[in-house]
């Protein structure tokens, strides 16, 4: 009788071990599949699109003739919009993160703010587009411009910078604050002379990640009226006469790289699909490079901290 029990247990254990190994295999398979999809995507894009990337492609306007079409207004538009996004999101995001982490008392006001930020991080990007459309474009009469585009993307990526700032500040040991305090530093001196400099790498990582995300955003910009076919460039920020700086470009209609890609993908002709792939490669290179940079900075600072 006992022998049968022992054999039964052995079988049970063997079966459990087999299942265990099978699951490990399954995990690797899923991992492999995910990697395969990513690689296929990148490869497909590069193989189809890379041959089309030449100087003409980067400096031409879009055209009805696929052979003549380029992404000039698209990447110029992306750059200008990113300028506005960064100019808005970086100071506001760092300021908000700083307030919540170092200044905010424990009160219901602070709770409300924190709940709001968490909530906003989960709102679909197209809703931000609707917000910008109703409020910025029409209510504030700012029009379908680069300025509004920068504003809506800044709002969208604000939570990323806020969270990164907070994490960076949180990782600074309390002893630094105590030492500064004991030396007679007030709050702002402690923050500006000791905390922010120490938090710089973490904040930088957050900024890069935020901008990488903003570059790829399409839906909110379509909603606020970005053009999908554009045959001109926004006015240049740098002028040839004093004061050498112009802000006219903020009020200009525009397009951006992902919208250009969207437009070409939606055309029936295969030639445009290849151009879309090319635009996609440019886009991918930009976002992956930025994400890679952020990962690298994070890796470097973690080694330094040791």
């Amino acid at each position: 009788m006992a022998e049968m029990l022992v054999i039964d247990t052995h079988q049970r254990i063997a079966k459990a071990r087999r299942r265990d190994l099978l699951f490990a295999g399954l995990g690797l398979v899923v991992l492999f599949l995910a990697t395969a999809v990513l690689l296929t995507l990148i490869l497909d894009l590069v193989v189809t699109g890379a041959p089309h990337i030449d100087w003409d492609f980067l400096t031409n306007y879009p055209s009805r003739r696929a052979s003549r079409a380029g992404i000039l207004p698209a990447w110029v538009g992306t750059s200008l919009v990113m300028l506005v996004t960064a100019a808005l999101a970086i100071p506001i995001g760092i300021a908000a993160g700083l307030y919540l982490e170092e200044y905010a008392p424990r009160s219901w006001v602070t709770d409300v703010i924190e709940i709001n930020i968490t909530n906003l991080a989960g709102v679909p990007s197209i809703i931000y587009g609707l917000l910008a459309l109703g409020v910025f474009v029409y209510l504030f009469r700012l029009g379908e411009t680069i300025l509004v585009a920068g504003m809506v993307l800044a709002l969208l990526v604000l939570p990323v910078i806020i969270v990164a700032t907070r994490e960076a500040l949180r990782s600074i040991p309390q002893e630094v604050r105590e030492a500064a305090f004991a030396l007679g530093a007030d709050k702002w001196q402690t923050v500006s002379m000791y905390l922010l400099p120490a938090a710089r790498p973490g904040i930088l990582t957050g900024i890069i990640a935020a901008l990488a995300r903003a570059i790829g955003e399409t839906a909110p910009l379509i909603t606020i009226g970005a053009l999908t076919f554009i045959a001109f460039l926004p006015p240049s920020p740098i002028t040839s006469e004093p004061p050498f700086l112009s802000f006219d470009w903020l009020w200009s209609p525009f397009t951006v790289l992902p919208i250009q890609m969207f437009n070409w993908t939606s055309r029936p002709q295969a030639a445009f699909h290849e151009l879309a792939a090319a635009a996609g490669v440019v886009l991918l290179v930009m976002t992956l490079a930025m994400n890679g940079l952020a990962i690298y900075i994070r890796y470097r600072t973690r080694r330094l901290m040791r």
Binding site: G27, V30, T35, A96, I113, N119, L130, L133, V135, P258
Partner: protein, 315 residues
């Protein structure tokens, strides 16, 4: 109220003190900075209020022309036709179908991967997988849309003869891969938060890693993992470009993944691409659709938030 500023005490011959002017300036700066920082932080509240305001006000205008009942029950959505119909069900059907397909991919794969990373994988493997998932999460959605329409759909059409050029299956699958990183990272966080003591107890009982994972860790991390699913759902429902490119924009009321359809998000895009004047019903309709979407994702996010709070409190 501060006492008068203290200079170095007359009795002592030393003491480097700031000048009274310096201290006064510092106080001013401190107060100014505090107000600026508070303003920046409270911007988030303003944004939420603005979103609610814009969605509700335009929707109210919309509902003056269209009855709420018709909106919620009509099975045709044709606002741009001569004889417009305003039933949101087709859009909801499209949203739900694509999201369900995405979740059918992302939830099982994501959970398996999360368990594998948290219970099986060593640090070296995790160092490789984490950047991989981050890369996946960093690919712009237009690129995924391109991939769905011009690679996945032709591929699937070879296997499934009845597949339309614009269909819901292809974007659904691609979206599944797209939200995979979110589900993996959130579930894995939840699982790693489970104290090792529980794992050690299971190990002492003779459990295999799989048994520990499924019988001990997963149940303990359940609220966190469910929160991950809910947040993934919210992400899927709110996604726009993949569906806009690959699913077509035809608002037929259908749950058939082999056909194309419109979702709430693609409808908004469609209208925005056209010439829709401010103040028209068509303009207001996108806000009504947006309000529906907002409420949907809000519900998921709130549920997810409370579940995550529960799992954090448990430890």
């Amino acid at each position: 109220m501060a006492t008068s500023l203290q200079r170095a005490s007359p009795a002592s011959s030393y003491g480097i003190q700031p000048s009274p002017g310096f201290l006064a300036r510092r106080r001013l700066v401190d107060r100014l900075v505090r107000s600026l920082l508070f303003a920046a932080a409270s911007l988030s509240v303003l944004v939420t209020l603005a979103i609610v305001y814009v969605l509700v006000s335009e929707s109210l205008l919309f509902f003056r022309h269209v009855g709420l009942v018709e909106f919620l029950t009509d099975t045709q959505w044709t606002p741009l036709f001569a004889n417009p119909r305003y039933g949101i069900l087709p859009l909801l059907a499209g949203t739900v179908t694509v999201s369900v397909i995405a979740l059918l991919v992302a939830i099982p794969a994501g959970t398996v991967l999360a368990i594998y990373l948290s219970e099986y994988a060593d640090n070296r493997l995790r160092e490789v997988v984490k950047p991989l998932l981050e890369t996946l999460a960093g690919v712009p959605t237009v690129v995924f849309g391109y991939f769905a329409l011009l690679f996945v759909t032709p591929l699937l059409r070879r296997v499934i003869p009845g597949l339309a050029g614009f269909n819901m299956l292809s974007p659904g699958l691609v979206m599944g891969v797209m939200i995979l990183p979110y589900i993996v990272s959130l579930s894995e966080d939840a699982m790693r938060a489970v104290p090792d003591g529980l794992r050690e107890g299971a190990c002492a009982l003779g459990y295999t890693r799989l048994q520990t994972a499924t019988r001990v860790v997963l149940p303990a991390a359940l609220s966190g993992v469910t929160a991950a699913y809910l947040l993934g759902m919210a992400r899927a429902v709110g996604e726009t470009m993949v569906v806009a490119i690959a699913a077509g924009q035809n608002p037929d009321f259908t749950f058939n993944p082999l056909e194309g359809a419109a979702t709430i998000t693609t409808y908004i895009v469609q209208v925005s691409l056209g010439d829709v004047a401010y103040g028209t019903i068509a303009y207001q309709s996108i806000f009504a659709a947006g309000l529906t979407l907002f409420l949907l994702t809000l519900a998921f996010n709130i549920l997810g938030f409370f579940l995550r709070r529960r799992f954090r409190q448990a430890y």
